[in-house]
């Protein structure tokens, strides 16, 4: 379980209220207000600590005035005139949250009248959509052919060693997410990497460390 701020607030909140439904509802609302939705790992923790069945918790959750539901409904409403709107909705969620939270996907499925499995079918098919929350910073290494030939594998190894994670993963402290991208179309200045959305090109071995400095990526000398 990731060390998230969500857990520290639980004991104080829940010890006084125990299994009272109204109270639980209120604490759920608090969590909802804090996160914008009720993260699954917190829901699981609540159900474990309070020995409430997850299904019952879910039922309670549906009573909470949910931002997630509102968001999902707003998205569905926004694209309702478009045929094949699912991918458009997912794009918007991905851009907003950095991933597609399960809670949101469930609400979208409900609002759109599409089975959750269908939505996951689409999410998992496309590389662009992620199911896990991203790190605070992201480092994507381009593995297009031009970059590959000019030594992108070296950059990838270097990044893996420095961050101590495999590609497609986030560091345990959720600071950095390391990814490999297909081609960002900057073949003229290969090898290139994308650091927090900004492209840096014409790199050499040893250049990756510069982006991973604790203060965040430093400005690249061109």
């Amino acid at each position: 379980m990731p060390a998230d701020t969500g857990h520290t607030e639980l004991p104080g909140l829940l010890s006084t209220w125990k299994d009272e439904e109204a109270a639980l509802l209120e604490s759920l609302e608090q969590i909802e207000r804090k996160h914008g939705f009720i993260p699954r790992h917190i829901a699981e923790e609540i159900s474990r600590v309070l020995e409430v069945k997850l299904e019952r918790l879910r039922k309670l959750q549906s009573k909470v005035e949910s931002n997630v539901r509102k968001e999902a409904e707003a998205l569905v409403e926004k694209w309702k005139d478009e045929e094949g709107s699912l991918i458009l909705i997912l794009h918007e969620i991905q851009n907003q949250h950095g991933y597609v939270p399960r809670e949101l996907a469930m609400e979208v499925s409900y609002a759109l009248g599409v089975k959750l499995a269908r939505i996951y079918e689409v999410i998992t098919f496309y590389h662009y959509f992620h199911l896990q929350p991203p790190g605070r910073h992201s480092l994507s290494i381009c593995m297009g052919t031009a970059c590959y030939l000019k030594g992108a594998s070296g950059l990838l190894t270097e990044a893996k060693n420095l961050l101590k994670v495999e590609e497609g993963n986030t560091t345990p402290d959720r600071e950095w997410h390391l990814d490999v991208v297909r081609c960002i179309g900057c073949c003229g200045m290969s090898p290139a990497v994308v650091v927090n959305g900004k492209i840096h090109g014409r790199l050499k071995n040893g250049d990756v460390a510069r982006f991973l400095a604790p203060a965040g990526p430093t400005k690249a000398a061109s």
């Binding site: 079918e121 052919t145 179309g185 003229g188």
Partner: protein, 657 residues
């Protein structure tokens, strides 16, 4: 903005763009921005007011000279217009001070013009000098010094400036000298020629014939005609530069049949890779009676190592939109989609902007230009799936589903998007359409070969000296593209192969580089034209590794719907993996060939059918490299792949490494 009518566009046709004599154009495409163009642009915009004369700072698309990003084109009254490359902030400050105020060109940043002249017109004000050989060293400095000394000796040093260039556009021709503003270029200049140059050419205004470089520019810019020329986000600027004139001609009186006939004359074939005649695609879609019909612009440029669609969408979105509207008119479509990769956010925003501007001006929507034709276009984002470049998968993706291809027939021209007749054209194809209709199909057909007409944009990358976009008439040789236009191999190494067509294409070895590029000729060599990625590999690149790289790409991208692609690709990759670890089994190469054949024959869509191409072509031309892995193990194979000359002919003597 009020809605335009046909008559309004006609006015734009003759209007010269209003711009002062002093301007700078900054290439603000993704590549340029990655290299720091936005900082430079901000600096120039800030300082433009302090110069004491009006300076127009324009953000334009890329000129294609990617090796020198960020690019800035500078015009100063009374001085030759030059393109600067690799302009960082420090260089930009010097540019302001020295060039714009001090009227002196900057050393080491100028890219000499590719359009060279053979006649001097007017007095020379500047000499560009550069040693064009691969191991460029001190010679440039020496020549600059010597020329300057000679000029001083003749008392010309105040009239003519001598500037070191960054790139001359000619390669391996010794020291090159270009005269500005006439753009006469001398090559293979020796120290002994310096006095002659100053005496004959600068003072006598006569050209020295045996130094003159007469080879004209091999590039013909049709698709890239507007890239880097004006601000794609400034609609007025686009109109003034003649965008939408092709559409005006079509809506002003050309029937859809006449448009299709014109396209037939032009001989334009799909630039996405397969080369299906564009007119025929339109004709087939037109013939189907059902409505509504759709037109799709395929901007899902998934081929790694290619970026011409991105450059065109970023640099000239209005021309692509114009092509889309013309295509819609020809096939009778009422709705159009741009399907663009989400990895190209700038291209997406520029196209969206173009659509909004066109809407406001009445170039989209009901009753376009008062002609009675109605059409609307939208942008749909790809989401990172290579297979979505395939027509049927792309359609599924726009419909909001998984991008799985479906068997053809029925072809999209019959049952496409939402079950309706649909035509899908590549970005580059659509960008060429307006110019064809404006200047006529016969004009376009003068370029290229009998079967493959017109021009094609190639993104030449990899181990090449000057990676860039080039647009060349088809029929040019690969050697001309790689060596003459892009300067040959990076670091003075030996070329081993050129890969065309990305993961669906194949390797073309050095001894076949004199092949004339066309759809058919590349296919005969076991490769394809593809979308236009051209990747240069040198002697250090192991063909086994490269083919493994491509195969891994296709295995990752296989949608998994049909077995030959899903299982065949995986098994082939397993074999190559163990081969590259030196654990190949006897008969593995035959096994690879057998699986390849099965995949080519039985796969559902283009991805599976072409996935074995890189491996097969590598096996065809570089079998000894694979055999070295099988027979001698990894260390031996690595040594062999580097020592061996590019030819696979057994007669080639193995050099001692």
């Amino acid at each position: 903005m009020t809605k335009l009518l046909l008559a309004d566009l006609a006015k734009h046709a003759s209007r010269a763009p209003a711009r002062g004599p002093n301007w700078v154009r900054i290439s603000m495409d993704t590549g340029g921005i990655a290299a720091g163009a936005d900082e430079v642009c901000a600096l120039l915009e800030k300082e433009a007011g302090t110069l004491g004369f009006p300076l127009a700072v324009q953000r334009v698309g890329s000129l294609g000279l990617s090796f020198a990003d960020p690019l800035i084109e500078v015009a100063r009254e009374g001085m030759p217009t030059v393109v600067y490359g690799r302009v960082d902030e420090a260089a930009a400050r010097r540019l302001l001070k020295d060039h714009l105020i001090g009227r002196r060109l900057l050393d080491d940043h100028i890219l000499a013009s590719r359009t060279r002249s053979v006649a001097l017109d007017g007095p020379t004000t500047c000499l560009l000098v550069k040693d064009t050989s691969a191991d460029s060293g001190d010679k440039t400095q020496f020549f600059q010094f010597s020329l300057l000394e000679e000029l001083k000796h003749r008392g010309l040093q105040d009239k003519v400036q001598v500037v070191r260039a960054l790139d001359m556009g000619v390669y391996d021709k010794g020291v090159a000298v270009q005269f500005l503003p006439s753009r006469v270029t001398y090559v293979n200049v020796l120290a002994a020629d310096i006095a002659r140059i100053v005496d004959t050419t600068l003072r006598g205004k006569k050209i020295i014939d045996n130094l003159l470089y007469r080879v004209p520019d091999k590039q013909v810019r049709i698709v890239l005609r507007n890239c880097g020329k004006f601000d794609p986000e400034n609609f007025q600027d686009c109109l003034d530069h003649g965008v939408y004139q092709g559409l005006a001609r079509v809506l002003g009186g050309l029937s859809p049949e006449a448009v299709i006939a014109e396209m037939k004359t032009s001989g334009l074939r799909g630039r996405g890779g397969a080369g299906f005649p564009t007119w025929l695609k339109w004709q087939l879609t037109r013939e189907v009676a059902r409505t509504p019909k759709y037109i799709i612009c395929n901007g899902d440029e998934g081929d790694p190592g290619a970026y011409m669609d991105r450059s065109v969408l970023e640099g000239d979105p209005h021309s692509v939109l114009e092509g889309l509207i013309i295509a819609a008119h020809a096939i009778g479509a009422s709705r159009g989609y741009f399907y663009i990769r989400a990895e190209y956010p700038l291209a997406v925003s520029r196209v969206e902007r173009a659509i909004a501007d066109a809407h406001a001006a009445g170039l989209l929507g009901d009753n376009i230009l008062g002609s009675g034709f109605s059409f609307d276009a939208k942008v749909r984002l790809g989401a990172g799936a290579f297979v979505c470049g395939e027509e049927t998968a792309l359609i599924a993706s726009i419909e909001g589903k998984r991008g799985s291809p479906s068997p053809r027939p029925p072809y999209p021209s019959e049952r496409g998007l939402f079950g309706q007749p649909t035509a899908i054209n590549n970005v580059e194809t659509l960008a060429a359409v307006p110019e064809i209709l404006l200047r006529g199909g016969a004009w376009y057909a003068q370029y290229g070969t009998e079967e493959s007409r017109g021009t094609k944009v190639f993104a030449v990358t990899g181990k090449v000296r000057q990676p860039q976009l080039v647009e060349v008439p088809l029929g040019i040789t690969l050697r001309d593209i790689v060596f003459e236009l892009c300067g040959g191999v990076f670091g003075g190494k030996t070329i081993k192969a050129v890969q065309t067509g990305g993961p669906s294409g194949g390797m073309i070895p050095e001894h076949l580089l004199d092949t004339r590029v066309s759809y058919e000729s590349l296919q005969e060599l076991g490769s394809i034209m593809g979308s236009g990625g051209m990747i240069v590999m040198d002697q250090d690149d192991s063909m086994v590794e490269v083919s493994r790289f491509y195969l891994r790409f296709c295995v990752d991208e296989s949608c998994g719907k049909c077995a030959p692609c899903r299982i065949g690709g995986y098994q082939m990759l397993q074999i190559l993996n163990r081969l590259s670890r030196g654990r190949a089994e006897p008969g593995d190469l035959e096994r690879v060939r057998a699986i390849s054949k099965a995949m080519q024959k039985a796969s559902l869509c283009g991805l599976g059918q072409t996935a074995p191409n890189p491996v097969l072509s590598a096996l065809r031309y570089f079998e000894p490299e694979f055999k070295a892995y099988v027979e001698g193990g990894v260390t031996y194979a690595r040594k062999m792949s580097q020592a061996r000359p590019a030819e696979s002919a057994p007669a080639a003597a193995p050099a001692t490494a």
